[in-house]
Amino acid sequence: MKTIILAITFMGLITYAVRLIPFHGLKLIQELKVIDYLSSMLPIAILTVLVVFSFHLEPHPISLDTLFKLICLTLVVLMQIKWRSATLSMIVGLSIYILLSTVV
């Protein structure tokens, strides 16, 4: 619980600081073009790392469950590309995952 409270406190402070900086250091930020570049590149990179991280949470990476997850993630990606509906992709992906985990 202590870790969660600490995380909430510091995450709140960092988030607020990032949003506050432009109001007090406008010139400096505008001159730092590298930040502009990083903020265009980092989100995709971070999301990729997070997909790997959240996929790898299970203690046994090579299992039937891993195969089910890969099938469902492929399906989610294809559906998202085709229909662009996050809700639909999530519902179908999750339903198939639950079905595979229960039946097989």
Partner: protein, 230 residues
Amino acid sequence: MPQKNQFKRALHATKPVIFCYIPLGIAFGMLFDTMLGHWYLAPLMSLFVFAGAAQFISIPMIANHQALSTILLMTLMVNLRHLFYGISFVKKYQYPWYQQMYMIFGLTDESFSILSAEDKPHDAKFCFHVTWISHAYWIFGTIIGALAGLYTNVAIGTLKFTLCMLFTIMLVESMRESKRYMPFYTALIITTIMMLLSPAYYLILSLLVISMIFIGKYFFIGKKSQREKL
């Protein structure tokens, strides 16, 4: 425009946010409660942090006992884009200091997109209403989700996978909108290498190495190509 009309206008403008913040808030609340326990801390996080992506990301990191510094570095990197939201707003709006402080706090992707998309001349009260209404939706969704997590028995493995699917969808959409694929391939290669080299610290190491690669690319390749163009 009278204050009541500004409130109504803000309520109307934030309608799309309901479809985004409430389902996501519910998902966040459920995940938080199932993976971390202490359901009441989930709305507290939504109240004090108000950064959807960073909040979602922090759940598995806290659950996996990642160092606080790693969680904070991730928060900083994920929220880096907010630096530019403030820049486009700083000169436009003048509020009383207490409203200004809250407006800065509530400058999220959604509130930024609503305030940027409005054609009509901006009013400080309208912007303030948009911010607090959006924040209220987010907290409301989180409370519903946290309570649902408390009273329903959802398998933790399934919820963990939901988070993975959510990140995947966000990744697909980010790549589609930006048309940038290089960060994806770079991150995938670096994360795989780091996972093999250091399974315990691959998350933080991957983030640091990827950032260094991009900074290096900007200063060495980016500037060189700019000079060549001249």
